[in-house]
């Protein structure tokens, strides 16, 4: 063997390997197993959590194999790349043969091939082959678009077929998989995904990127003009809505209300309502009720401010606002925390004033019961910011895939041969058929057509 022949042999067998369905099956099963593994190990957690869960040795091994961000690891991406190559090579390998079948000017029919089929029905008829074929031809034409009649020394053959083009369906499916992968690639190279929290009335231009510890500066400023949340009676959130203004080059470019499932889009970047949270209120009032006199006083307050308690009761300083305060394991929700300095030389006490539970402070059994009167809630909106120029490629892939499936699964290339051969009493008629899909359906169809033919008269 000459070196070039040897090389050709090598290229050939590499091509065969890359075109084989066996490789497809190995890849699909490997991808499935790897994905299972990836769901058993939480992805993108912190190193400390992993070390605690797996110990240092296993942690090291997993770290080397990129298990903690497995779906983006080199080896997982390599498997996907192999699948793509497999699809492309396999499709090229087969397309020329399929092409010839589909676009043949004069498709060749081989009567022997039909005779060997198991999907076959026979009956005897009195007429001659010539007359019978004239009777049968219009009936067959009802079911099949293309028809040819051949006469040979043995007898007459009617060939008919339909749906040749449906053989392309599989290629549409395979193409769609490749397009999906390309779309995903475009997104991962040219897109980004991040998030930012903006308090009502404030603006932001810098976002934090997801899963990597980086920030990114946008070309424009996002201002949150307003945020609202409404609740169902059960207390679960019903809708959150942010009014956002985009400011570019000092100019207001766009204002829009966004809710979950209805983002704002600006210059290829989409801004999604993702979450929200409460902030320390600007203004509030605190209610002081005296046990001694029974009098109640409502006094304006703000975080960091100090109030003189009436009736010379001492001083109260609001130290902080906690959106989710916890007291003995119970979540109290939004809570004002403050320091009470009663009159005289008693030592100061830190106390909690949950907004939702006005009588909470009674438990303390002090001279005064303090509660939150009016509070104006202030929120920040949690925005998810994404840019993905590959989305439209991906959506094209989605559409193609569905179209391809419908063609591949529900349509088929069907062929039928009616052989009319003279015998002692007239003719023997054999109806045989084949289909690329739904073989049982084709059997039924052959039976039905045979029944029609056997009762047809001139």
């Amino acid at each position: 063997m000459s070196p070039s022949q040897k090389q050709e042999g090598l290229v050939d067998s590499l091509w065969k390997f890359l075109a084989s369905v066996k490789l497809t099956i190995v890849l699909l099963i490997t991808l499935a197993c790897a994905s299972i593994f990836g769901t058993l190990i939480p992805q993108n957690a912190s190193p400390a959590e992993y070390i605690q869960a797996f110990g240092p040795i296993l942690y090291r091994i997993f770290w080397v194999l990129d298990i903690f961000d497995m779906y983006h690891s080199w080896w997982f991406q390599f498997l996907i790349l192999m699948l793509a190559i497999n699809i492309v090579v396999c499709s090229f390998d087969r397309l020329s043969a399929t092409w010839q079948i589909i676009f043949a000017k004069n498709p060749k029919f081989n009567p022997e091939r039909f005779q060997r089929l198991s999907n076959k029905q026979e009956f005897n008829e009195t007429g001659s082959a010539q007359t019978l074929s004239q009777v049968y031809s219009p009936i067959i034409a009802k079911y099949f678009r293309y028809q040819t009649v051949t006469n040979s020394g043995k007898g007459t053959y009617l060939f008919a077929e339909r749906g040749r083009w449906t053989r392309l369906g599989v290629y549409v499916v395979h193409l769609s998989v490749v397009i999906l992968l390309i779309g995903g690639l475009i997104g991962s190279i040219f897109g980004f995904e991040g998030f930012v929290n903006i308090a009502e009335g404030e603006s932001a231009q810098t976002i934090r990127l997801r899963n990597v510890n980086q920030v990114r500066e946008l070309d424009f400023v996002i201002r949150c003009d307003d945020f609202d949340v409404s609740f169902y009676e059960t207390g679960t959130p019903k809708e959150f809505r942010s009014k956002l203004t985009i400011i570019e080059g000092g100019q207001e470019a766009l204002t829009k209300d966004i809710i979950v499932n209805d983002p704002l889009r600006y210059k290829g970047i989409s801004i999604y309502q993702a979450s929200y949270g409460s902030l320390a209120p600007d203004r509030m009032t605190l209610k002081f009720t005296s046990n001694a006199s029974g009098m109640a006083y409502e006094i304006p307050a703000k975080v960091g401010g100090t109030i003189d308690i009436p009736e010379a009761g001492g001083q109260f300083t609001v130290t902080e606002f906690q959106p989710q305060a916890v007291f003995r394991g119970t979540n109290l929700g939004e809570t004002i925390v403050g320091r009470l300095q009663p009159k005289g030389d008693t030592s100061p006490a830190d106390i909690m004033l949950p907004v939702r539970f006005p009588s909470f402070d009674k438990m303390r059994k002090g001279d005064w019961v303090i509660s939150v009167g009016n509070i104006e809630p202030r929120y920040y909106t949690g925005l998810q910011i994404a840019k993905d120029p590959g989305v439209w490629v991906v959506y094209t892939g989605f559409t193609l895939m569905i179209v391809g499936f419908v063609i591949t699964f529900f349509l088929s290339h069907q062929r039928i041969c009616v052989a009319i051969l003279p015998n002692d009493t007239g003719s023997s008629v054999t109806v045989a058929g084949m289909a690329t899909k739904n073989k049982l359906g084709m059997e039924n169809r052959i039976r039905k057509i045979t029944a029609k033919l056997s009762v047809a008269r001139v």
């Binding site: 699909l28 499935a32 994905s35 939480p42 992805q43 019903k238 895939m401």
Partner: protein, 280 residues
């Protein structure tokens, strides 16, 4: 009657239908089989009524939404699709033994919804992210796919039974459809299911993109639906390889359905969480 009451009743109707199909098959009787079909039809009708009534009830509560928003509702819908799907197949293939392997699945789905103490049948308001037509399309297509896979699973079990049976010592196995019919039926069902699972994954991706700006995030539930997809893609291609007809296809179909079940129920057991666990 409230929708929950109707649906509890459906549980028993489906149970009865499953029982009758099994009796008809094992004791080779036609009468229980005919009865089973009528019982199953009644069950499916009542199931439909229950779903519609639940929809109406949610509007009366002022939180109107399609009854497809939590585990209870999805199980009810799952049972409904299995029952309807099976009844169509019974008509086409004119063989009631398939019912002995399909109706029990419809029964189990609805029984789990009605009887499990962990599953609440209360009509709950929708979280903001769940208010999307894409989500409705997503749930419906996924469950049509799951129903096809469920019946394919039943048919694959029949295949394995039938394949084992040698001679006529087990007469009740003879009532099962011919082995090549079972093989073809599995293929048809898997193709159908694969189409719907794919559309389900796609509509889910479109929904995720409209809600969070990412059509794919490798969260465990998404990943498991992809794993399921890989398994059935393997099945479809395995038929093209020599020696992979029949038994191995049946095993793949069974494995695929296990993956469906895990996607549906098991994912919550995994570390991490699906952003909106309400679906399962």
């Amino acid at each position: 009657m409230s929708s929950s009451q109707i649906l509890s009743l459906v549980t028993f109707i489906y149970g009865l239908a499953a029982f009758l199909y099994l009796v008809a098959w094992i004791f080779r009787q036609d009468l229980p089989g005919k009865l089973a079909t009528w019982v199953a039809l009644t069950g499916a009708a009542a199931n439909t009524a229950g779903l519609i009534l639940r929809w109406v009830e949610s509007y009366k509560l002022g939180i109107g939404h399609a009854p497809l928003s939590n585990l209870y509702e999805s199980l009810i819908f799952f049972a409904w699709t299995i029952a309807c799907f099976y009844l169509v197949i019974e008509r086409i293939y004119k063989n009631r033994t398939i019912g002995a392997f399909s109706m029990p699945l419809a029964f189990l789905a609805i029984a789990y919804a009605s009887l499990s103490p962990n599953i609440s049948d209360r009509i709950q308001p929708l979280l903001p992210a769940l208010k999307s037509n894409w989500l409705i399309a997503h749930v419906i297509t996924c469950f049509i796919g799951y129903a096809a896979f469920a019946i394919a699973f039943g048919v694959s079990i029949m295949y394995l039974f039938k394949q084992r049976a040698s001679g006529d010592q087990l007469q009740f196995l003879q009532r099962l459809p011919e082995i090549r019919v079972l093989d073809e039926l599995t293929h048809q069902l898997v193709m159908f299911g694969f189409l719907f699972l794919s559309v389900g994954i796609i509509t889910g991706a479109v929904w995720a993109n409209s809600a969070w700006g990412r059509y794919w995030g490798w969260d465990p539930k998404e990943t498991w639906s992809l794993i399921t997809w890989f398994i059935y893609a393997t099945l479809l291609h395995a038929r093209l390889m020599r020696g992979w007809q029949g038994k191995r296809i049946a095993f793949l179909s069974i494995t695929g359905f296990m993956a469906v079940l895990f996607t549906y129920f098991g994912v919550n057991l995994l570390p991490g969480l699906h952003s909106y666990g309400a679906m399962g």
